[in-house]
Every structure is written in structure tokens, then in C-alpha cells.
């Protein structure tokens, strides 16, 4: 608590788009209550503060920190550790911090592939073939930019966290509930939930909150929503062949997307008890496919052009595998291999020689 009797609040964006910060500002007049109850000590999106100010703070001197964004580079990692040290309550705020989100999709590729796409593709004007250099000795002194990590990680994979608020971004009404809870808890009028809880969301699935009707359990074809001529406004989207992530996604948004006629894309992460959102979605989709023969199954699945992106759009960095094999292999650490066969023995083995 600061000298003026207010509790201290901080918010930081690591590898994120800034949408989480906007979602907090979208509290509208309630933001005045936040300013009333909290002294905002650090919030790069909303005010001018320096890392050095935070570095100078004693341990545990910030009462509540919302950390949005995933851990993409060493700057993100530094701030994650710094805010863990200086915060009493550290909240993984939003999908990036809690499960990797869109930045986590980079875990399908190696950093080198990513940089090639960014700097070398035909649409990029880069005649000198420049690539980012983390440190550069300029006449005026050394210039530094953050170093990319081989894989994107979630906040809880690098530091201990207290709570998770899911969503991309979290709905402002849910953020307001959390703010009310924090204010009440700091005033001694409420108890904080157990450490590790997911707050500001439900425990069930988006389907549970969706008003659309579910009848049949079989679908004959997947299709993209923009390719459909007519969409039944009352019927389950998945039943109409539109890939919808509702069955494996935590509720909390009020099923905004499916109610509005767009499929759920899974931004609230896995529901309670689900370890891997993608695996659960995969399971749900394969359960409704109306085919018994491998050929028919393959034909229906061809309607899902990007199963990986569909299932792991938000949750790749926190999934069981976390990264594709090339990205995993490029992490710079030799995977512990038990026993290798002599090299010539496997020459020509299909796909097995990429490492």
C-alpha cells in the first residue's frame, strides 16, 4: 500500500497486441473506481513510467499486477521476473499471458523461418538482406533490441502466478467483476479465491451459454462460414458444418460470437478439467463426423484445411506439445536421446533424419 492509503496497481504488456489494455480502459466510468482505489504505479499503455522505476521498487510493493502478453523475448522475461518480484498478486491477464494466443502460433515455426518470412519474402523490400541484430555498436554507443527466444511461452511457464484471467481480450464486464472482487478483498470484505484459480470466467463451456439449438450429432461436411449461402440463425453452427470451438472453450464471454453468427474461435481457453484445448476440440469434431470408413472420414476432414490452426489458435504455447518438432529442436538444447543407432543404419528413413 502506498503512502496515500491506496493499493498499488500495475499493468504490463509483453508479447501482445494491446487489446487487453484497451479492454481494461473499456471499463468506462468504472475506471474512475480503479483510479480511486488504486495508485497506478506502472502501466506503459496508459502512462509514462520507466522500467528503472519498477526496478527500484522493493519486493512485493505492488498489490495487484495484470500481466498481459506472452514471453517472446528476453525483455518480456525480464519484466515477468521483475513484476513477479515486486507484486503481491500477479495475474496472467488475457489469452497471451495464460496460453500463448496468436503470438504462440509462432511455435509452429523456427525463429529463422519466422525472420525469413518477415524479412525475405518477395513482398518485402530488403535489398541488403538485413536481419535484426540484438546488439549494435553505433558511434553514439551500443544499441540493443530484445533477443527472440526460440519458442513463445506463457507467463506461468516462466514465473509463479497467482491467478489467470482468460480471454482475447477478457470481456470488460468480467474485468469489472475482478476489479470489484479485488477492491472488496483488499478492504477485507471478501476473500480472494485460492491461488491458481481462473477468475473472471465460468467453469463450463461456450456451448453451455450458447442459445443455438443442438439436435443431430452428425455432420456430413465441414465448410467455411464465408462459403455458406444460408446460415440457420437458430441452429448450432457446428451442426451446420462450421468449425466452432465452443465445445472445448471456457465460458465467460456469454457466447458472443456464435450468438452473433460467427463461430467461436476458442479465445477463452480450455474449460475446467481440460488439459489440452486442441485435443479436446479434435475429439469433439471427430465425434460428430458422419462417416464410418477411413476414406469417407478423410474426405470430410479435407474440409478442415488447417486443423492445427483451428484447434490450437489460442492454446499452442500451453498445449501438451507446446511447439512443433522443428521449433522444439531449434531451442538450442540437445534433446536428451537415450541411445542412438549408428548413423548409416537410418540413412534414407522417411522423415527421420531431420535432426
Amino acid at each position: 500500500m502506498s503512502s496515500n492509503g491506496k493499493h498499488r496497481f500495475a499493468m504490463y504488456w509483453a508479447a501482445s497486441c494491446g487489446g487487453c489494455d484497451i479492454a481494461v480502459l473499456n471499463l468506462h466510468e468504472k475506471i474512475a473506481e480503479v483510479a480511486d482505489a488504486f495508485e497506478i504505479v506502472f502501466w506503459p499503455c496508459a502512462m509514462d513510467t520507466k522500467y528503472a522505476d519498477v526496478e527500484a521498487l522493493p519486493d512485493g510493493s505492488i498489490d495487484l499486477t495484470f500481466f498481459s502478453g506472452s514471453i517472446r523475448n528476453d525483455e518480456n522475461l525480464h519484466l515477468a521476473k521483475l513484476l513477479r518480484r515486486t507484486s503481491k498478486i500477479l495475474v496472467a491477464f488475457g489469452s497471451c499471458a495464460s496460453e500463448g494466443c496468436i503470438p504462440g502460433l509462432a511455435n509452429f515455426s523456427t525463429v529463422d523461418d519466422m525472420l525469413t518470412t518477415a524479412f525475405e519474402t518477395p513482398s518485402t523490400e530488403n535489398p541488403l538482406h538485413l536481419r535484426p541484430v540484438p546488439r549494435w555498436a553505433a558511434p553514439e554507443g551500443e544499441i540493443r533490441i530484445p533477443t527472440l527466444a526460440p519458442v513463445v511461452r506463457t507467463l506461468d511457464q516462466v514465473v509463479d502466478i497467482d491467478y489467470t484471467i482468460p480471454g482475447c481480450p477478457p470481456e470488460s464486464a468480467r474485468i469489472a467483476e475482478v476489479v470489484d472482487l479485488a477492491i472488496a478483498a483488499f478492504a477485507g470484505r471478501a476473500e480472494l479465491p485460492p491461488k491458481g484459480s481462473v477468475i473472471g470466467a465460468g467453469t463450463s463451456t461456450v456451448c453451455d451459454q450458447c442459445a443455438r439449438q443442438r439436435d443431430v450429432k452428425k455432420i456430413a461436411a465441414f465448410t467455411r462460414i464465408q462459403a455458406t449461402a444460408y446460415l440457420d440463425p437458430a441452429l448450432c453452427l457446428l451442426e451446420q458444418g462450421i468449425p466452432c470451438s465452443g465445445p472445448a472453450t471456457r465460458d465467460g464471454c456469454g457466447a458472443l460470437c456464435p450468438v452473433a453468427g460467427a463461430p467461436c474461435i476458442g479465445c477463452y481457453g480450455p474449460s475446467d478439467g481440460v488439459v489440452d484445448q486442441g485435443a479436446r476440440l479434435l475429439s469433439a469434431f471427430s465425434s460428430v463426423i458422419d462417416a464410418r470408413e477411413p476414406g469417407d472420414i478423410e474426405r470430410i476432414l479435407d474440409g478442415l484445411p488447417d486443423p492445427l490452426g483451428t484447434f490450437y489458435r489460442f492454446g499452442l504455447a500451453r498445449s501438451i506439445l507446446r511447439a512443433s518438432r522443428p521449433a522444439f529442436a531449434s531451442s538450442g538444447v540437445e534433446p536428451p536421446v537415450i541411445a542412438r543407432a549408428p548413423e548409416p543404419a537410418r540413412a534414407g528413413a522417411a522423415g527421420g533424419t531431420d535432426r
Binding site: 525480464h78 521476473k81 536481419r131 540484438p134 527472440l148 477411413p294 531451442s331 538444447v333 522423415g351
Partner: protein, 180 residues
């Protein structure tokens, strides 16, 4: 990695230098057909490679795709899913669900850079001990030919430690923090 993460699995040669690679396989069997096929192979003294560790489920339809992913992430080089033949499922047609999951899961692991052949589906009735043993042998040899998968063993997750990435301009000095 530290020595603790390089423990040899059961059945593998402990000498890591040049010793033959023994794949670690997880096999999911159903209570009613394929597990009994494995049982029959045992009572009939049919030999099959000891590389596969069988896990009995009530039905192949019980197989959560997360089980397969966890097996790979935990160090398995291959996963075998087995159940009753189509039309013979104890739970009417849950093995068909397993088939659909298998087909989709293969697409997913392929996109993740894991060879689809590391995941195999085998139908075996309770009377097919011979077939079960033969299929296990075939799959072990296929996976052996693919080589180690190299995902974290014993729960190790090598990619958790961030190593700095060299850029085209050459390797940069790594801030102490990055490797911490």
C-alpha cells in the same frame, strides 16, 4: 541436459554411445478385444518385442487424443491404438469414434512435425493373439526405422530453457537473463 534426464528406459541399451536404438512405445488396448488378444499372445507364449507398454482402456473410444500427445511429449517414440474390429465393439461403435480421432490426430501430429507412422491403429479381436504380436513387431520396426522422436524424456522439457537465437549477422552476446 543434466544426467537425470537421460535415464535409459526399460529395455533400452544403457550405453548411449553407438548402442542400438530401442523405441519406447505406448500401446492403448481395449478391455474387450485387443487387451485380451495381448493376453492370449502371452498365454500362448507368442513372443513380441518388449518395447511396447500396454495401457488398458475400457474401449478404444475412451482414448482421449490428449493421452497420445502426452505419450509423445513424455518421451514415447511411437503410440499404438488398438481396439475391436469395426462392427464388433462392445459399446456398439465407439471404436469408429476412435478411428475418426486417429485419422484426425494423424493429420495434427504430422503438422506438428511428427511422422504419422509413429501413431498406428490396429484392430485385433480377442482371438487374434498371433495377429496382435505380429502387428506390435511390425510397428516397433517401423518406429525403429524412424529413429528417436526426441521429445522430452522423463517429463523433461528441453525447450523450456530459452537459448538465444543467432541472427544472420552472427551470434550475439547472450544477456545473463536469457539463459537463466
Amino acid at each position: 541436459m543434466s544426467a537425470t534426464t537421460t535415464q535409459a528406459p526399460v529395455g533400452a541399451a544403457t550405453d548411449s554411445a553407438g548402442a542400438a536404438f530401442e523405441p519406447v512405445m505406448i500401446g492403448f488396448t481395449c478391455n474387450w478385444c485387443s487387451y485380451r488378444a495381448a493376453d492370449l499372445a502371452g498365454t500362448a507364449r507368442i513372443k513380441y518385442p518388449p518395447n511396447v507398454r500396454l495401457i488398458r482402456l475400457m474401449c478404444s473410444g475412451r482414448l482421449d487424443p490428449a493421452f497420445v500427445l502426452k505419450a509423445f511429449a513424455g518421451g514415447a517414440d511411437g503410440v499404438m491404438v488398438s481396439g475391436c474390429w469395426p462392427g464388433e465393439c462392445h459399446y456398439i461403435e465407439q471404436n469408429i469414434k476412435a478411428l475418426r480421432r486417429f485419422v484426425l490426430l494423424r493429420r495434427v501430429i504430422e503438422a506438428m512435425g511428427i511422422e504419422p507412422a509413429r501413431l498406428q491403429l490396429v484392430w485385433a479381436s480377442a482371438a487374434e493373439g498371433q495377429r496382435f504380436a505380429h502387428e506390435v513387431g511390425r510397428i516397433v520396426e517401423e518406429v525403429r526405422a524412424l529413429g528417436p522422436l526426441g521429445w522430452g524424456r522423463d517429463g523433461a522439457r528441453p525447450h523450456e530453457s530459452i537459448a538465444a537465437v543467432s541472427t544472420a549477422a552472427g551470434p550475439a552476446a547472450v544477456p545473463a537473463e536469457v539463459t537463466a
